[in-house]
C-alpha cells in the first residue's frame, strides 16, 4: 500500500514537471512579448529592455525554467517584486501578487463550487437514477429519464442568469450568488452558493441519472443479487446494499473523469456569477499573458486532477475488495 502510494506520488510529481515544462515552452513559443504589459502606452525601447531584465526574460529559456523550478523549493528574490518565499510560484505579471497565495486565496471558492456541485449532482443524479431503476418502465422512470434529457441540454451561461433573475431578482428566494467563507458563516456559505451548485450540476446530473439507472438495472441482474434475494433479503436491502454497491464502481470511474470537466465547468460558473475562484485567475492569466499565474493555475489544476485520480483509485479499493491494494 505504501509502496503503491509512493509510486503514484512520484508519478504525479513527474507529470507536474512535464506539464510545467510544456507550459513554459508553449508560452514562449507564442510570438508575444509579456514585457510589453509592463510598459506604458508610449514605451521607449530602453524601458522594454529594462523590463525584460527585471523579469529575467533575457536569460535562456532553460535558465528561466531552472530559476522557476528552484524557486518552488527554495524561494526566490525577484528584482521587480521582492522576496518570494518557498513554495514560490513567482509573482503574477498582472497583479504583482504572489501566485501561490493568490491561488491559495481562491482555492476555497473553486473547491466549494466544485465539490458542492459534485455533491448536488451525485445526490440528484444518483437518486433519480436509482428511482428510475427501481421503478423501471413505470411513470416515475419515464419522468426521471425525460427530465434528464432536458437537463443535459441546458447551459450554464443560460440557466445561470435565468435562475438569478427568477430566484433572486423576481422572487427573492435566494441571495445573489457570492462566496462567503465557510469558516465565517456556514449557513450563508450554503445559501449563497446554492444557485451556482444547481447550475453547474444540472448539465451533469442527467448523465448520472442515465448511468445510474442502467448500471443499477445491470447489477440487479447479477448472480449475487439473486443470491441475496434467495437468502430472504428484502427488495430494498438488495437494492441498496448489494446492487448499489456494484453500481458505485462505474459511477466512481466516470465521476473521477468528470471531476476534471467539473473543474472546467466551475470556471464558467465563476465567470457567470462573479465568484473569485481559480477559474477567474485562469481566464485572466491567459488574457494577460501572465506566465507565472498561468503556470501556477495549470499546475494546481494538474495537481488536483492527479490527486483525484489517486483518490478514485483508493475509493475503488474501499468499494471493491477485489482490487484492494496490498
Amino acid at each position: 500500500m505504501v509502496r503503491f502510494f509512493l509510486r503514484r506520488v512520484a508519478g504525479a510529481a513527474m507529470i507536474m514537471v512535464i506539464i510545467s515544462v510544456v507550459t513554459f515552452v508553449l508560452f514562449y513559443a507564442v510570438p508575444r512579448d509579456p514585457a510589453r504589459a509592463f510598459c506604458g502606452k508610449i514605451c521607449p525601447p530602453q524601458n522594454l529592455a529594462l523590463i525584460r531584465h527585471n523579469l529575467g526574460m533575457d536569460d535562456p529559456l532553460f535558465v528561466q525554467y531552472w530559476h522557476w523550478l528552484a524557486g518552488v523549493f527554495t524561494g526566490r528574490d525577484l528584482p521587480q517584486f521582492g522576496e518570494c518565499a518557498a513554495p514560490c510560484l513567482g509573482y503574477s505579471f498582472a497583479t504583482r501578487e504572489p501566485v501561490f497565495s493568490a491561488i491559495l486565496d481562491r482555492l476555497p471558492v473553486t473547491l466549494s463550487v466544485t465539490f458542492g456541485a459534485a455533491v448536488v449532482l451525485l445526490t440528484f443524479g444518483v437518486v433519480t437514477g436509482m428511482i428510475a431503476a427501481w421503478q423501471q418502465g413505470r411513470p416515475l422512470d419515464k419522468i426521471a429519464s425525460a427530465s434528464s434529457v432536458i437537463g443535459a441540454s441546458l447551459q450554464i451561461y443560460f440557466v445561470g442568469p435565468l435562475l438569478v433573475f427568477f430566484a433572486v431578482d423576481t422572487l427573492g428566494l435566494l441571495p445573489r450568488p457570492a462566496y462567503v467563507p465557510i469558516t465565517e458563516d456556514p449557513g450563508r456559505w450554503f445559501v449563497h452558493l446554492l444557485i451556482p451548485w444547481l447550475v453547474l450540476s444540472i448539465i451533469f446530473t442527467a448523465n448520472y441519472t442515465r448511468m445510474t439507472r442502467s448500471v443499477m438495472i445491470e447489477q440487479l441482474a447479477e448472480d449475487y443479487v439473486r443470491t441475496a434475494r434467495a437468502k430472504g433479503m428484502s427488495g430494498r436491502t438488495v437494492f441498496l446494499r448489494f446492487a448499489w454497491r456494484g453500481a458505485m464502481i462505474p459511477i466512481v470511474t466516470i465521476f473521477g473523469v468528470d471531476l476534471a470537466t467539473l473543474l472546467g465547468g466551475a470556471i464558467i460558473t465563476e465567470q457567470t456569477f462573479t465568484l473569485h475562484g481559480i477559474g477567474e485567475l485562469a481566464v485572466r492569466a491567459v488574457q494577460n499573458t501572465d506566465l507565472p499565474m498561468l503556470l501556477g493555475v495549470t499546475l494546481v489544476g494538474a495537481f488536483a486532477i492527479v490527486t483525484l485520480t489517486i483518490l478514485v483509485d483508493v475509493l475503488y479499493a474501499v468499494i471493491d475488495p477485489r482490487v484492494r491494494l496490498r
Partner: protein, 614 residues
C-alpha cells in the same frame, strides 16, 4: 485629451484599458464594442457632463460647429480657480456608502505606474497632482491641485515654478512638502517604474533617461528639480514645454510621500493625499475606501467627497453589471461603475426605457480609432487619398452594430475633445459615407496606378472578418486589388510593430494624454520617432509636419497652440496617413439611489468626485 486611453484593446496587464492605447484585440472586443455603441446617443445631442454632443450628420450635411463646444470650454485657470473647495453640486448630501462594481481590479495604484484611464479615475479619490481638472456643469478648467495655481513659466515653458498650498497633509497628518513632490518625480527613474508616462522623465535630463539617473533610493538626486523652500518646486526642462502644466496633471505625476515610499510595494497600497484612504484591499476582489480625516476640502478645488465610504467589487462582467443596474434593487441602487459600459445587447432596451436613460452616463471620450496607411509602402499620396475616398465607413459602422452600437464616424486625426479641434471633412466622407469609388478611380488614374495592390492586415475575429469583407468590396470597386492578411489576436501588435511589417493598411486607436494636440499628434505622426514597435504606425515622415510639431509645441498660449495643432491635423489628413474611423463614446448606467454621477471627458468614464447617496 485624457491622461490615458479609454478601454480599448489592451493585450496588456489586465487593466481596463490598453497598455498601448491602440489597436483592437479580440479579447477586449467586448469592451471595445460596448464602448463603440455609446456613440449615437451622444450624437443625438444628449451628451451629459461635457464631452461634446455633435448632431447626427447621417445625410452628409456639413459637420456642425457645436461638436467641440464642450472642448472649447476647457480653460486654464489661475489662482482664483485653484482655491478650494470644489464647486457645489445641487441636491448633494454627505454620508453613506457608494458601491462601485467593475470588471477588473486596479492593476496599479502607485501613481508612477498609472497610465490607463480607469486607474486615473480611482486615483482621483486618493492621489493628488500639482495640477488637475475641475469639472463643473460640463465645463473643464485646468487648476492647481496641490499647487496654488497652474504653474508659472517665464521663459516660454522651459522653467516651471509651482507653489504648494498651505495646510496640505498626507493621510497620517504630516505635511505635504516640496521634498515629497521632488521625490515623487525622482522615483519615476527607478527601474521598477516602467508602466507610467515618460514625458517628464525625458524632459528633465539629456539623452537616455534610464542611463542618466536611477532614482533617489541610493541617495542621488536630480538637479533639474529644485526646492528652494518647503512649498516651492522648480522644474528646469531641457527644452520648452508650454503645456507642462497639463502634463503634470496626469495621475502618473501624482504625489508620493518620501517617508512612506515602499518602492515596489507602494503599488499595493498607496498613501493618500486625497479625500479617501484605502482601508482594505483584496486583489481582484474588493477594495474599501474610507475618509482621510487629514484631507482639507479648503485646499481642494476639484474634489467633492460626499459619501463616507466607497465599496468596490471587481470581476463583474459588463453583462452582469448591466443586468444589476437595470434590476436596480437593494444595494445595487447605490451602485455605480467607473468603466463597465452597457452591454451591447441591452442598448435598445435601455434607449427605449426613460427611467433607465435617466440613470445613464453618456459622452464623447478622448479615444479615436483609425486605419493606418503605411506611407513607407504606399508612397504616392494620391493612392492613399483614393483609399480614403473609397473607404466604406458606413458599412463598417453597420458591421459594428450601426450608430447605436458604434462611434461617430471620424474625419480628423484630432478628437473633438482636444483643445483647438476643428471639424473638417477633406474627403467628403460624411457626404458619401459608403465610399466614392468614382472619385477614388479618378485619383488612381492621376497617380498612374489604376489597380494598386493593398495588403490589409486585421485581427482574425468574426467581427473583423465582416469588416474585412466590406473593405475588400469597397476598395475593389475603386480598382484596388485587396490582399487580406488575418493576424492572430494575441500577437497583432507584434505583427504590425516592426517598421518593415509588410502591410499597407491596419487598424489602430489613440487617445491624447492631455487635451492639447501635442500628445494626440506627435506620437503618431512625428517622422523622427519612427522605430520598431513605436507609435508612428503610419510611418509618416514629412519634414513640414515634423517642423510644424516643433513649432506648435513651442506656443505658450493654449488657444494659439490649438489652432496650430488643428492646422497640422489638416496637413496630416492631406497626406492621407490614416483613415479615421470613430470618435468613440461612452454609455453606462448607475443605480437610482445615487446623484451627481457624471461623465468624465478626461477619461471617457464615469466621474466619481461629485457622486452622492440620495
Amino acid at each position: 485629451m485624457s491622461r490615458t486611453t479609454p478601454a480599448g484593446p489592451a493585450a496588456g496587464n489586465g487593466g481596463i484599458t490598453t497598455w498601448k492605447g491602440h489597436m483592437r484585440s479580440s479579447r477586449r472586443s467586448a469592451a471595445a464594442a460596448a464602448l463603440l455603441m455609446a456613440g449615437a446617443l451622444a450624437l443625438a445631442g444628449c451628451a451629459k457632463g461635457g464631452g461634446g454632443g455633435p448632431v447626427a450628420s447621417a445625410g452628409g450635411t456639413p459637420v456642425q460647429a457645436q461638436e467641440n463646444k464642450a472642448v472649447s470650454a476647457i480653460t486654464v485657470g489661475g489662482a482664483e480657480e485653484s482655491r478650494g473647495p470644489a464647486p457645489a453640486v445641487p441636491g448633494s448630501k454627505r454620508g453613506g456608502t457608494v458601491t462601485m462594481i467593475d470588471r477588473d481590479d486596479f492593476s496599479h495604484l502607485d501613481p508612477g505606474r498609472v497610465y490607463v484611464n480607469y486607474l486615473s479615475t480611482v486615483s482621483l479619490l486618493f492621489t493628488r497632482q500639482l495640477t488637475g481638472y475641475r469639472q463643473e456643469n460640463g465645463r473643464l478648467t485646468l487648476v492647481g491641485d496641490l499647487a496654488t495655481d497652474t504653474g508659472t513659466t517665464t521663459d516660454g515653458g522651459r522653467t516651471w515654478k509651482f507653489t504648494l498650498k498651505e495646510g496640505l497633509k498626507w493621510q497620517d497628518g504630516t505635511p505635504i512638502t516640496s521634498a515629497d513632490i521632488r521625490h515623487s518625480f525622482e522615483r519615476l527613474y527607478a527601474p521598477f517604474i516602467t508602466e507610467g508616462p515618460t514625458y517628464v522623465q525625458q524632459w528633465l535630463v539629456e539623452g537616455d533617461y534610464r542611463k542618466a539617473y536611477e532614482g533617489p533610493y541610493d541617495g542621488m538626486s536630480l538637479d533639474a528639480i529644485k526646492t528652494p523652500d518647503d512649498r516651492t518646486v522648480v522644474f528646469t526642462l531641457t527644452a520648452p514645454h508650454p503645456d507642462f502644466n497639463f502634463t503634470v496633471a496626469m495621475t502618473g505625476y501624482g504625489a508620493v510621500p518620501k517617508a512612506q515610499d515602499t518602492k515596489e510595494r507602494y503599488d499595493r497600497k498607496p498613501f493618500s493625499s486625497g479625500p479617501y484612504k484605502i482601508a482594505s484591499r483584496v486583489t481582484d476582489k474588493s477594495m474599501e475606501l474610507d475618509r482621510n480625516p487629514h484631507w482639507d476640502p479648503a485646499t481642494d478645488p476639484i474634489r467633492n467627497a460626499f459619501p463616507d465610504r466607497w465599496h468596490m467589487e471587481f470581476g463583474v462582467q459588463a453583462q452582469n453589471s448591466t443586468d444589476r443596474f437595470l434590476a436596480d434593487s437593494g444595494a445595487d441602487r447605490t451602485t455605480m461603475t467607473f468603466h463597465n459600459p452597457l452591454s451591447p445587447e441591452r442598448v435598445q432596451e435601455v434607449v427605449g426605457d426613460p427611467s433607465a436613460m435617466a440613470r445613464s452616463v453618456r459622452g464623447l471620450t478622448p479615444y479615436t480609432t483609425f486605419y493606418n496607411i503605411n506611407t513607407k509602402r504606399i508612397t504616392d499620396v494620391k493612392v492613399r487619398q483614393a483609399i480614403i475616398k473609397a473607404w466604406p465607413a458606413k458599412q463598417i459602422q453597420l458591421v459594428h452594430g450601426g450608430e447605436a452600437n458604434s462611434g461617430k464616424i471620424a474625419t480628423t486625426v484630432l478628437s473633438p475633445t482636444v483643445i483647438g479641434y476643428e471639424a473638417f471633412d477633406l474627403y467628403g466622407t460624411l457626404a458619401k459615407p459608403t465610399g466614392d469609388p468614382e472619385a477614388a478611380k479618378a485619383l488612381l488614374k492621376e497617380a498612374g496606378q489604376p489597380n494598386p495592390t493593398i495588403v490589409y492586415a486585421y485581427n482574425q475575429t468574426p467581427t473583423q472578418e465582416k469588416v474585412t469583407v466590406a473593405i475588400r468590396e469597397a476598395l475593389t470597386k475603386a480598382g484596388f486589388k485587396v490582399v487580406a492578411k488575418p493576424l492572430n489576436a494575441g500577437t497583432y501588435y507584434d505583427a504590425i510593430g516592426p517598421v518593415d511589417n509588410g502591410f499597407d493598411v491596419y487598424w489602430g486607436g489613440w487617445a491624447a494624454d492631455w487635451p492639447t494636440g501635442s500628445t494626440a499628434i506627435q506620437p503618431l505622426f512625428d517622422g523622427r520617432l519612427i522605430a520598431d514597435n513605436a507609435t508612428n504606425y503610419s510611418h509618416l515622415n514629412v519634414p513640414e509636419i515634423n517642423a510644424g510639431i516643433d513649432a506648435a509645441n513651442a506656443i505658450t498660449d493654449p488657444v494659439e497652440a490649438g489652432k496650430a495643432w488643428a492646422a497640422l491635423d489638416r496637413k496630416i489628413m492631406e497626406q492621407a496617413a490614416v483613415v479615421p474611423e470613430y470618435y468613440r463614446t461612452y454609455f453606462g448606467l448607475y443605480g437610482s439611489g445615487l446623484g451627481g454621477v457624471e461623465f468624465d471627458p478626461m477619461t471617457g468614464l464615469q466621474y466619481p468626485l461629485n457622486v452622492y447617496v440620495k
